[in-house]
Amino acid sequence: MKKYTKAFLSIVLLPFLMAFQGGDVLCNSKELKEKARQALEPYKYDSAELTRITYKKKESMKEVEVPLFIGEKYRIVFELEALPKQIEVQIYNKDKDSKNRKLLFSSKEMGDKKEFFFEVSKTRHVYVDYIVPPMEEGSYNGCAVFMVGYK
């Protein structure tokens, strides 16, 4: 009996463990954007951006510049469920190299929510910064999606 248990464990468990060696989270862009599209309502779809996130040993950052038309009303929906560890989303009025930039939004207020949105108007640009926390072991990847809608 003992020998069959041993065989069963090596046949079933070993491949199972091997399958998760990569540490990546499946990034299904279509599914993520469909979800974002629903959360965008009643705003009209304008554009969407998928950003590949690679976790490193040190904290890192990725920035997406989003041009807008002044006077229009916008909703930006974020979908963060395809990430192995929560990241922070910060939105600024100027890019990362500007000295006097103002923080307009931080996802810290949202706790561990994987889907949330931010509404903005009266500006020509926003800069979406993804603050990626450090990961100790292995190489982990995932993706973040945001969708822009206008009214």
Binding site: P15, K44, V64, F69, E72, Y150
Partner: protein, 292 residues
Amino acid sequence: MNLKYLAISAVVSVLFTASCKEIEDDQKNQESFEVTDSSAAPTVMPEEHDVSYNLPSALQIAYVFKKSGASFIPSLLNSKSKAQEYNTNNYKRAVNFGIYSADLAYCLFSKKYEESKEYLKACKETGSFLGLNQAFESDNIAQRFDKNISNEDSVVKIVSNVQLKTDLMLEQNQQKHITVIAFAGAWVESLHIALAVNAKEKNKKILGSVMEQLALCPVIIKALKNHNDSEPEIGNLIASIEEINVRFNSIEAVQKSIESDEEIDFNTLTVADSELNVITDLVKNLRAEMIK
């Protein structure tokens, strides 16, 4: 005996991993809407940049422009019968796909639904050269468009849904550079229309809309630079848009706004005809190069 178990588990592991890979590949094929056009095959792997750019849609540009009260001038549109001529290289396909998208958006928000239908066809034709057939063929788009033709909200929704699908397909096929080139085409066409309507109507709001579109120059240049090596024509395209940007920045009011680091209200601007004429010529030349 232990070796035997280890050998069995190793074989099962290989089979399990291989079958997972097959399932994953199948899913990828399904999600990429089975792009079969070999001419549209991806030529480059996407580069990972720390800074990227999310460009607006041709629909949104037309929506904002229409709100300025602009009239519809059909002679400004590119001939829809030329679509077949653009199936020469990826740059030509993408840039003219963008141009037809802008024409479609202009017709749509001007409530010219029969013309919109024709330009939707032109988009479908140029889109097919890029392997985007599925985006136009799924969900009975042509029939739904016909059925809702007098309802602006519904047709806009249908067209923006097509756009979402084409964006998704280009992203999944690792052709982000095509999205950027197509947007450059759409932007040039929108600007060409806006400048011509402004020249005819001399309206502060329309001028404001022209300036808003010109303010997109830097972000388009940066987005194109992220894909500089993807197509040989991108270098010249960047140079042409940079020239337009230099002229835009030399407009006195714009220059002041850059110096003061403040966002300017373009609706209150006064721009000399001479300043605008130089930009009009540059846009006209760039468009002529794109649609020839």
